[in-house]
């Protein structure tokens, strides 16, 4: 496997997503998300160097500040506030979900090889593989977890997947659209965090499977 330098972060991104599915510790998941965001930043920076595109540098810097530093920091703050440590998970146990996500990785590899890519493009298929598998694993995270925070993380993983797809297949979207998306993500995370606070306040837990239960003393 003489991997070209640009492929390594893309494949590591997919592996980190699989690790996130395999772990139920919320803190570890947030650390892994931060690492994944760092790898996304590295992929963006490598792409910027390759195409010598100044817009991508700015986006990489924004990604670093928002997704590597701000969002994980905010999550840690929420965890402190709502006092949860682990996610017990629903239906599918974490290691089984991990095996499922590996199956998704394999499927996305097959799908990615079907995509028409220009010859000599080294990041086309690894990018598509990482992107599709990130979409699937993010969805898996959102479906198999109980705690609202894990579901937000799953959403962010899916968002990373869409971003990676745009970056590797189209050399990135225009900068203003990219910045708008980042702002939306930040706002979405903030809102979801606030909702988690509210759920905690009203129900004394943030387990989404028990939201339908009635409470007596409101």
């Amino acid at each position: 496997m003489n991997l070209p330098l640009a492929q390594i972060p893309l494949l590591l991104i997919a592996l980190v997503a699989i690790l996130m599915v395999g772990s139920t510790h919320l803190r570890l998941n947030i650390w892994l998300f931060s690492a994944q965001a760092l790898l996304v930043t590295m992929a963006t920076a490598l792409s910027a160097v390759q195409h010598s595109d100044s817009h991508l540098y700015i986006i990489a810097a924004l990604l670093f500040v928002l997704k590597v530093l701000a969002v994980p920091k905010f999550f840690m703050y929420i965890i402190e506030k709502v006092e949860v440590q682990r996610d017990t998970g629903t239906v599918v146990r974490a290691p089984v979900a991990m095996l499922l996500s590996i199956a998704f990785l394999w499927l996305s590899y097959i799908l990615a090889r079907q995509l028409p890519v220009p010859s000599g493009d080294t990041i086309g298929w690894p990018g598509a593989t990482a992107a599709i598998s990130l979409l699937c694993t993010g969805l898996l995270l959102m479906l198999t977890r109980r705690i609202a925070l894990s579901q937000i993380i799953g959403f962010l993983v899916m968002e990373n997947g869409i971003y990676i797809f745009g970056l590797t297949q189209t050399n990135g979207m225009p900068m203003f659209i990219e910045m708008g998306i980042l702002l939306d993500v930040l706002a979405g995370v903030m809102l979801a965090g606030l909702i988690a606070f509210r759920i905690k306040k009203n129900f004394e837990h943030i387990d989404v499977t028990m939201l339908t239960e009635l409470k007596e003393n409101l």
């Binding site: 496997m1 089984v96 991990m98 095996l99 590996i102």
Partner: protein
Amino acid sequence: MVNIQNALLWGYLLVSIVIVPGIITGLIRKVKARLQNRIGAPVWQPLLDLIKLFRKEETLSETASWLFRFSSALNLSIAVYLAITSPWISPRPDTGACDLFLFLYLFAAMRLFTMLGAMDTGSPFGPFAASREATLSFMVEPAAILSLASLALVARSSDLTVVFSNYTSQHWALWVLSGSAFLLASLVELSRMPIDDPTTHLELTMVHEAMILEASGKNLALVEFANALKLSILFGISAQCFLHAIPGLMVNASPTIHGIAGLTGLSLVAGSVGIFESLSVKLNWRAAPEFIAYSLAVALIATLAALGADFV
């Protein structure tokens, strides 16, 4: 000249088979002792224990048949055969082929005879532990096979000697993945820490220890030595996997460097297993499949990487 070198290599292999298992077991115990703020026995203590056990008188259960002592002798011979043929230590003399399926299923045969020996004595704990061991072994089998088979797939040969003689470290990612998957699988295979604590003597939970409860004296020495040898082979194989991942370390290196690298790698793997065992807690029996699923996950990724490396 070739003859002298070959004789030296054989000498090195045979001396390692006798000494290394004891030292490695002692090293793991030493690391665990140091992490518990104890000084611990010297690393060669297991060797002295073996000599002591050989001198002791043996007590046999009245219900035990010939199978009981036969199984420990057979296990040791299988372990020595595997130690001679499999590439767990480097450099090695030319010992012929070592097929990976033969390698794994001879370990399974060892397990079968340990289980038979455990059930032969009439002790209630033996069959208990044997059923646990059987459960573990069939759950861990896919992970162990896939991790080695992914390497065989890239090398286009199921002969472990051929697989491990490619020192170009071209597929470094695959070597690391397979090595870690195999290490996790061998922790289960040896019924070590996250699955079972080899240092406690609680009959209701222990796996390997409960099977050898009835063995004593020379018989126990054989069982202990076979198990230590199995441990060194399994850890040695994963250490060799990690060594293969380091670019430029083993290519065209002299046998001395190979020997030093092999022994250092084995000690590092054993030391990290010691650290891991000190930090982790024994898993609930029902959580054992989850731990095995992690090892299977890594092995599956390695297989995918091998298939991908084949396509690209």
